[in-house]
Amino acid sequence: MGLFGKIRDALKKTKDSVALKMRQLFLKDKIGEAFYDELEEILISADVSVRTAEDVIDQVREEAIGQKLKDEEFVTDLLKDILEDTLNEAPVPELQYPCVIMFVGVNGVGKTTTIGKVANWFVRQGKSVTIAAADTFRAAAIDQLEIWANRAKVRIVKHEDGSDPAAVIFDAVSSAKARGTDVVLIDTAGRLHVKENLMKELQKMDRVVTREYPEAQFLKYLVLDATTGQNAMSQAKIFDEAVELDGIVLTKLDGTAKGGFVFSLCGELKIPVVFVGVGEKIDDLERFDAEQFVEGFL
C-alpha cells in the first residue's frame, strides 16, 4: 500500500465529486453568503451533520477574514486542517496484550465480516487470536463467523444457536486466558440501540469480560455502516452510554457514501475511528488515518 492506501482509493469517488463541486464553486468567483451556503451544502451532502457543517464553515469564515478567499487552495487547505483537527480530537488508544475486543452495532452494519478481517489483521501482526461467537440470535450467524475464522486460521469458541451469549464469552475468555492467547474478538448480535432489553444483554456481556479477565485490556468497538446518515450519532451515543465505547470501525467505505458523520463522532463524542472496511475480501481493512481520510474526503 502506497502513501495513499485503500481508504484514499475508496474515497476517490467522493473526492472527485467534492473536488469538482469545489472547483465549480470557485469559478463563480463571488465570495459571499452564497459561497458559504454552498460550502456547507457540500459537507452536508457527505453526511456531515448540519451542526458540524455549520461549525466548520464558521471556522473557515473566521480564519478567512481579511484574506483573499478566491484562492481555491487556500480554502481547501483551511478546510483540510479544520477537518483533520476535528478527527484528531479523539486519539486512538494504544493496543496492549492480552486484549479483548467486543464488536457491537445495529443489524447489518458488517460486524461478522469485520471480525473476520480484524482477526486476519492481528494474525498478520503475529498475534494469536480467539473468536467468540456470541451472536447466537441471528440465523446462521455462527456458521458465517466460522467460515471467517477458518479463512483467518484462528480458533473459534461457539455454542448452539439461541444459547446465552454471556456463557459463550465466559468460555472464550477462560480458554484464552488458559492458553495465553493475545487477542479475543467477540461477535455480538446486531441490535437497534433503542431496544432496552437488548442493550441490557450487552451490558451483561460487558460485565462477564470485566469480571473474568481484569488483567486484559478490554475494548469495545462500535461498527458503523458508512452509508448511514445522521442516525450514526444516535447509535454512538446510546451504545457509548451502555458500554463505553473505545473506538469505531467504519465499514462499507468502498461505496459512494462518504461517512461524514465521523467528524461529529470524533469532535463531539471524542470516540476515535480505529479501522475502516473497504471491501468484502479478508484484507479489505485499514487502520484509520485522519490525514488520509481527509485527503480523500476533500
Binding site: 451532502s45 453526511d47 433503542v194 448511514t228 444516535s234 468484502e280
Partner: protein
C-alpha cells in the same frame, strides 16, 4: 433525544415570531422553511431533494388561505406535512401478481439492508394470504447466506430452493421450473447484497431478469441510510427498473428521511416497512406517519388536526361574518371558549406544543379562569349576551351571584370582550383572518 428537543425549540421560536404578525407572507414562509430545511436534513433527506421540496412547497404556500384556527406558522407546517404525505404516498402494500403463475419477486439492495430476513417476512405474509411461496437462495457470496435463508424459511414454514454457488440466473430459472412443477404460485429470490457501483454484480441481477420473467423487483433499503440513498436508489432503478421499495429497521429512532429521497428520485411506491426482527414485523407503509416522523413533530401536527376538528368551517364562516358586521356577541365569545375546551383544554393544548414555551401569557389560559368565564356568560340572560352594554351594576351583582364570582371579575370579562371586539374591528380591514381571541 437532543435532536428532537432542538427542533422543537426552533419551531417554538418560529411560532412565537410568526404569531405576532398573524399574516402569512413570503418572508414568514421563508423563515419557517429555513427551520423545515434543517429538520429535513437532520432526518437525512437528501439535500437536493430537500431544496427542491422546499422551493415547490414555498411557492404553493404563498397566498394560501390561512385556516381560521391556525396561526401562520402552523399553517406552513401543515402545508409542508400535506405535501410530504402527497409526495411519499400513496402507500401500496400490494404485491403484483403475474397473469401466468408463478409470480416472481426479486429482492435487491446493498449489503446488510435486511433482504434475507425480509424474504422470510414476505413468505409468511403470502402464506397468510393463502399463497404458496417458494424461497430461492441466490446469495452465493456471503458466507452462510444460504444457511441463513434456510433457517428463515424453516421459521416461515416455506421451502427453500438452492443450488449451491451456481450462477443466480441458472438457479432462478430452475427454481421457476420447480415452482411450476410443484404448484408454488410465488417465487421469492434472495440475492446477495451488492454495491450499486459494482458493475459485475449489477449485471448478475440483470441476468436473473433475463432468465426469468420477474413481476416485482423490490429494492430493500435500510431506513437509517443517509445522503447516499439517492445515488443507491437511482442506480438500482436505472439498471433494473425497480417496481417497489421496502424500508427496513424502522423500529429504531431514525427519522427515515431516506424514504422521501428514494420516492423523489425513483417515483416507485414504498410497499412495506420492516419494524422488527420477528417474521411478523412487516407493516404496510403509511405516508402520514412517515411525514410526521421525518419532520420530527408528530405532536404539533396532531394539535393542528385537533384545532381543525374543533372549529368547523361553518363556525369559522359565521365568525367571519359576525366580525364583518361587527355583531360579535358574548355568545360567540363563549363559543370560542368551547372550541378551546374541545381541543382538550388549555393545558392539554399547551403540553402539545413543542417545548411548551409558546408565548401565551399564563393567566390567559388558566383553565379555571376559562371555567369561570363560562359560568359568568351562562349566568347572563340572552339579551345581556347580545347587548353587553345593558349590563348595569345591579345586573352585575345578579350575574356574580349566579355564577359564584365577583363583580370585579365580571368587569374584567366585559373589558376583555370589548378589547376583543376592538381587535376584530382592526382586523376587519385585513382579510378576515383571525385566531382564537386570547
Amino acid at each position: 433525544m437532543a435532536l428532537f428537543a432542538s427542533l422543537s425549540e426552533r419551531l417554538n421560536h418560529i411560532f412565537s415570531k410568526l404569531t405576532k404578525r398573524g399574516k402569512l407572507t413570503e418572508l414568514e414562509i421563508r423563515t419557517a422553511m429555513r427551520e423545515v430545511r434543517i429538520a429535513l436534513l437532520e432526518a437525512d433527506v437528501n439535500i437536493k431533494v430537500a431544496k427542491q421540496f422546499i422551493a415547490d412547497v414555498s411557492e404553493k404556500a404563498v397566498g394560501q388561505e390561512v385556516l381560521q384556527s391556525l396561526n401562520p406558522a402552523q399553517q406552513v407546517i401543515k402545508i409542508v406535512n400535506d405535501e410530504l404525505i402527497a409526495l411519499m404516498g400513496p402507500g401500496n402494500a400490494k404485491l403484483e401478481v403475474a397473469p401466468k403463475p408463478p409470480t416472481v419477486i426479486m429482492m435487491c439492495g446493498l449489503q446488510g439492508a435486511g433482504k434475507t430476513t425480509l424474504c422470510g417476512k414476505l413468505a409468511l405474509l403470502l402464506k397468510k394470504q393463502g399463497k404458496k411461496p417458494l424461497l430461492v437462495a441466490c446469495d452465493i457470496y456471503r458466507p452462510a447466506a444460504i444457511e441463513q435463508l434456510k433457517v428463515v424459511g424453516q421459521r416461515a414454514d416455506t421451502e427453500v430452493f438452492e443450488k449451491g454457488t451456481q450462477t443466480p440466473a441458472k438457479t432462478s430459472r430452475q427454481a421457476v421450473e420447480y415452482a411450476l412443477r410443484m404448484g408454488y404460485d410465488t417465487v421469492i429470490i434472495d440475492t446477495a447484497g451488492r454495491l450499486h457501483i459494482d458493475d459485475a454484480l449489477m449485471k448478475e441481477l440483470e441476468e436473473i431478469e433475463k432468465a426469468v420473467s420477474v413481476t416485482e423487483i423490490l429494492l430493500t433499503v435500510d431506513a437509517m441510510t443517509g445522503q447516499d440513498a439517492v445515488t443507491v436508489a437511482e442506480t438500482f432503478n436505472a439498471r433494473l427498473g425497480v417496481t417497489g421499495v421496502i424500508l427496513t429497521k424502522l423500529d429504531g429512532d431514525t427519522r427515515g428521511g431516506a424514504c422521501l429521497s428514494i420516492k423523489a428520485v425513483t417515483g416507485k411506491p414504498i410497499k412495506f416497512i420492516g419494524v422488527g426482527e420477528k417474521l411478523t414485523d412487516l407493516e404496510p407503509f403509511y405516508p402520514d406517519r412517515m411525514a410526521s416522523r421525518i419532520l420530527g413533530m408528530g405532536d404539533v401536527l396532531s394539535l393542528i388536526e385537533k384545532a381543525q376538528e374543533a372549529v368547523t368551517e361553518q363556525q369559522a364562516k359565521d365568525l367571519e361574518r359576525k366580525m364583518r358586521e361587527n355583531s360579535f356577541t358574548l355568545t360567540d365569545y363563549l363559543d370560542q371558549f368551547e372550541a378551546l375546551k374541545k381541543m382538550g383544554g388549555a393545558s392539554a393544548l399547551m403540553s402539545m406544543l413543542p417545548g411548551s414555551k409558546l408565548k401565551i401569557k399564563e393567566g390567559d389560559l388558566d383553565e379555571k379562569r376559562i371555567e369561570r368565564t363560562r359560568a359568568i356568560i351562562l349566568s347572563m340572560t340572552p339579551k345581556e349576551r347580545d347587548n353587553p352594554q345593558i349590563i348595569n351594576s345591579s345586573r352585575k351583582r345578579r350575574i356574580a351571584l349566579g355564577s359564584g364570582t365577583t363583580v370585579q371579575e365580571i368587569n374584567q370579562l366585559l373589558k376583555q370582550f370589548d378589547q376583543t371586539k376592538l381587535l376584530m374591528k382592526q382586523m376587519k380591514s385585513g382579510k378576515g383572518r383571525m385566531r382564537l381571541p386570547f
